[in-house]
């Protein structure tokens, strides 16, 4: 199906934005995210003969992206471990409702999570992959995906609890009868 280079490039173009979004969620660095996606595309073009359908291709692309990211971390580890960067919020939400600041808290909370947890939440929550597809991308059993996403959501919840939200900002319940 993807034997023709032009056809394959069109498919890659369709996935470009999705790959970049997740790469950015992992790196929080525009240039690095762009490089990782470019590297993913380059590797994919090299191996395009392997793919027969676009569903598997999307999973595979994210798997390649993750490998590129891990390769990068291995190279950088002595100097920079991106998920250990001090990312404490420098904004104060106590007396303001400014939208940028609230979202900054959310993104800071996300960045304070471990790499493993950020990976899984970005694939499932941001990109909408199923547990099965996520298991393939991360090369782990589906049961591990289930427990890992559960822990990740708990961690995010704990981080967001730290925010001193004004009254009325907690979720209001609706219930199904």
């Amino acid at each position: 199906m993807f034997g023709q280079s032009k056809q394959f490039k069109i498919v890659l173009q369709e996935k470009w934005q999705d790959l970049y979004k997740v790469a950015y969620a992992w790196t929080h660095d525009n240039a690095l995210a762009s490089d990782l996606v470019q590297e993913t595309i380059t590797r994919s073009l090299r191996n395009r003969e392997k793919f027969t359908n676009s569903v598997e291709l999307k999973i595979w692309l994210f798997k390649v992206l993750r490998n590129c990211w891990r390769d990068h971390l291995r190279r950088q580890k002595p100097e920079v471990d991106i998920h250990n960067i001090d990312l404490h919020a420098n904004t104060n939400v106590e007396n303001e409702y400014h939208r940028h600041q609230v979202m900054t808290h959310v993104s800071n909370a996300f960045r304070r999570m471990s790499l493993e947890q950020r990976e899984i939440l970005s694939l499932i929550v941001i990109e909408g992959f199923s547990y099965e597809a996520t298991a393939k991308i991360l090369d782990i059993p589906t049961g591990t995906v289930m427990s890992r996403v559960s822990r990740a959501r708990n961690t995010l919840r704990e981080h967001l609890k730290d925010i001193d939200l004004p009254d009325g900002m907690s979720p209001t319940l609706w219930r199904v009868k």
Binding site: K21, S107, V125, M146, R157, G168
Partner: protein
């Protein structure tokens, strides 16, 4: 966390992610009816998901160019130091995301009870569609119709972004239903996210046309936030 509690929490997460079979989902719905704490936890987790998605779904990639040599990793140190994050979009005056749990059988407003009914001074309801999932969209349209039919004096708005934009495009498979709703009720409106339209235009290389009933807004996020600020109730489809 005890093993049993851990297991329950994993099941709740699988419910959020749509990974459970129908009978398992129904079991969760039953539990939600009885357990207010569980409902609150679910609501909180879903709200956090929403915020996470809002924070990252509007990140725009630079122009696609498969020919660029992707071996610039030597520049990374500079890039790392320069990586102060610019969040173009944003969010939240009033973090009042109200979540309703969609049920496979839920088609009538009478099936929903609001714990804080009295706080709904203005019956203004926003339904947010971000995925082109037939079941979710059908549920959302059913819910909308139900509200319009049964609740007097309400104002209802359906806003679509990301994949959900397909609901309001000129080739929408739901065009007839939207027209019927719009013709029948004058208190319903349909809004399409300008950023999602721009993204679709870049991807498809052509202008994106909307159904005549739909209106373009600059961004779904700003629309949602302004509605929340004004006291609207938010429902995620």
């Amino acid at each position: 966390m005890s093993p049993n509690k851990q297991e329950n929490h994993e099941t709740l997460n699988a419910f959020i992610d749509g990974q459970l079979a129908t009978d398992e989902r129904m079991h969760i719905f039953e539990s939600l009816k009885k357990d207010e704490k569980l409902s609150y936890t679910l609501c909180e987790l879903q709200r956090n998901d929403e915020f996470l998605a809002l924070a990252y779904n509007n990140i725009r990639a630079p122009k696609y160019d498969p020919y660029v040599n992707a071996t610039r990793f030597s520049q990374r140190k500079k890039n790392m130091l320069a990586a102060s994050v610019l969040f173009i979009i944003s969010a939240a005056i009033g973090w009042q995301f109200h979540t309703v749990y969609s049920s496979e059988h839920e088609t009538n407003i009478q099936d929903i009870s609001f714990l804080n009914t009295n706080t709904l001074e203005h019956k203004q309801i926003l339904i947010h569609v971000s995925k082109m999932d037939p079941k979710r969209i059908t549920d959302a349209l059913n819910k909308a119709e139900s509200l319009l039919k049964n609740e007097k004096g309400i104002q209802l708005e359906i806003i679509a972004n990301a994949e959900g934009l397909g609901l309001l495009r000129d080739n929408s498979p739901y065009a007839k239903r939207i027209k019927a709703l719009s013709d029948k009720y004058n208190n319903v409106s349909f809004k399409a996210c300008g950023i999602a339209m721009q993204a679709a235009k870049l991807k498809e290389g052509k202008d994106i046309l909307l159904l005549p009933e739909a209106e373009k807004v600059p961004t779904a996020l700003d629309q949602i936030l302004s509605r929340l600020k004004a006291g609207w109730v938010y429902i995620k489809a």
